[in-house]
């Protein structure tokens, strides 16, 4: 018995798929970036259609200028945690700006979105008397937050308020705190939660609602405040979590709330206290991107226009799509092998998307996840649609021969 035996099954599967295509979908190196939607990979220019760059702000002039200035002014790194020497004026200012933008009283900035969920959940729910209820399709960081918390964790059926209601009704009288966790838009399929109904069910049972808008912040709602803005329940969410690494084109994460007790997390949340704070340049870039997001709706309009165009084209091509139209457009394939082959085919045709296979996907589905950006040009979209058209022809041919 060795430490490594447990990896054997996955390694065998991985290697056999790798041998067939000669490319590693989980180890792609963007050798040289050419802009928000293009990169050089192995000497070839590729259209990036598997990112989370929803508003396309990674090369925004204002964000780059702000990051440069912060770098010159405040140095390359903080070398310490928020809890110690790692809180600069920029960190505080960004917390205030996010709280003001979302209309909450309090906000905490973490080093990544992963740590924001991890830190909030682990600190809020504690065994033996608190219970966490999570949507079955929640991101790994929510699952990991539950594990770090150690509190009893119960899954409810994905996007199903009735299933949540049943599970909350079953809880015994000895349960003290109840925390319900779910997301706005889910990252893999791009499907959107019935946020209003879930918040209502949680509150009916005296539970707190934690909503992760990582993929929907900047994307949904009239002002880009997320699915809860669209559904008119922004004020009812107890804990709003988000990230800087998607619409805000930087790295870092946050938790916002109207509960003054959020401030207690600053000295009880281990993923906040025991890691270095985001670098000044990351904070400055996120702040500048937030200002752009507030001032300019045209990026969101462009994003949705692009999403509509790609979704309509894929529907016409007859692809099996995982969810209704949104900026994440996932094509379902028959299994791991076909998904691997299709991913490789798209790379050969100059388009990078995300390959996602079980257990990283719900319902044992193998998908190609495409995410649209406001920065995609018509030329980019043409390249994407042409590559998928060729893929659809290949798949039909294969099906005819089978």
């Amino acid at each position: 018995m060795s430490l490594f035996d447990k990896f054997q099954n996955t390694a065998t599967l991985y290697n056999s798929l790798l041998e067939e295509t000669g490319r590693d979908p989980f180890g792609v190196s963007m050798d040289e970036m050419k802009g928000p939607t293009r990169a050089m990979v192995k000497g070839k220019e590729i259209v990036l259609a598997g990112t989370n760059n929803y508003l396309g702000l990674t090369y925004d002039d204002a964000a780059i200028a702000a990051a440069k200035e912060a770098l010159e002014q405040s140095g390359t790194g903080t070398t310490g945690s928020r809890f110690a020497n790692g809180t600069y004026a920029g960190h505080r200012q960004l917390e205030e700006d996010l709280a003001a933008f979302l209309g909450y009283k309090h906000c905490m900035v973490f080093s990544t979105g992963y740590q924001a969920n991890l830190g909030a959940i682990a600190a809020l729910a504690q065994p033996p008397h608190d219970v966490i209820l999570i949507d079955a399709d929640c991101h790994a960081c929510i699952y990991d937050g539950c594990q770090l918390s150690g509190a009893e964790t119960i899954r409810f059926r994905h996007n199903d308020p009735t299933s949540l209601d049943k599970r909350l009704s079953r809880l015994g009288d000895d349960v003290k705190g109840k925390l319900v966790c779910f997301e706005g838009m889910y990252s893999m399929f791009g499907d959107v939660a019935p946020v209003k109904e879930l918040v209502e069910v949680a509150h009916k049972h005296g539970a707190y609602a934690l909503l992760d808008e990582a993929h929907s912040f900047g994307v949904f709602g009239d002002h880009g405040r997320g699915v809860c803005e669209r559904d008119g329940v922004l004020d009812d969410v107890d804990f709003y979590t988000g990230t800087f690494s998607k619409s805000l084109a930087s790295i870092g994460g946050f938790v916002a709330s109207n509960h003054p007790e959020l401030e207690f997390l600053r000295f009880s949340s281990r993923p906040y206290m025991f890691t270095a704070s985001p670098s000044p340049a990351n904070i400055a870039a996120a702040s500048a991107a937030l200002a752009r997001l507030k001032a300019d709706d045209s990026m969101r309009t462009a994003l949705w226009d692009n999403a509509k165009r790609v979704h309509a084209a894929f529907t016409q091509l007859g692809f099996d799509l995982a969810a209704p139209m949104s900026p994440v457009i996932a094509v379902k394939l028959s299994g791991r092998e076909e998904a691997f082959m299709a991913w490789n085919f798209l790379m050969e045709h100059g388009v990078y998307v995300n390959l996602a296979i079980p257990p990283g996907t719900p319902n044992a589905t193998s998908i190609l996840r495409l995410s649209v950006s406001a920065a995609h040009t018509n030329e980019d979209l043409d390249a994407i649609i042409n590559a998928y058209t060729a893929l659809s022809e290949l798949l039909s041919e294969k099906a005819a021969h089978a």
Binding site: N9, A136, E152, T153, I154, S163, R167, R170, P358, P359
Partner: protein, 87 residues
């Protein structure tokens, strides 16, 4: 005693019927069958089977408990314990 055994058998059969669609290798299902090692069902699929069991028996089985269960027999025993506790 006999009624417990009968119930035990019913729960066992219910679980087997939920697992059978995932039993690609056609392995014989017994109390000692290990879901992940013997049937190669991935961890998320195990959670989904448990979700069906929860709705079938109107009980909640915490994720924390599931991670400790390896075999069908352990799952059967856990359901009995939780049914008793939550009824």
């Amino acid at each position: 005693m006999s009624s417990i055994q009968e119930d035990d058998d019913l729960v066992f059969r219910k679980i087997c019927s939920l697992i059978e669609p995932l039993n690609d290798k056609g392995a014989k299902l017994t109390r000692d069958t290990d879901l992940i090692a013997d049937l190669e069902i991935d961890s998320v699929a195990v959670l989904d089977v448990v979700m069906d069991i929860e709705d079938n028996y109107d009980i909640s089985i915490p994720v924390n408990t599931i991670s400790e269960m390896k075999t069908i027999g352990e799952l059967v025993d856990a359901i009995h314990a939780i049914k008793k506790e939550q009824s």
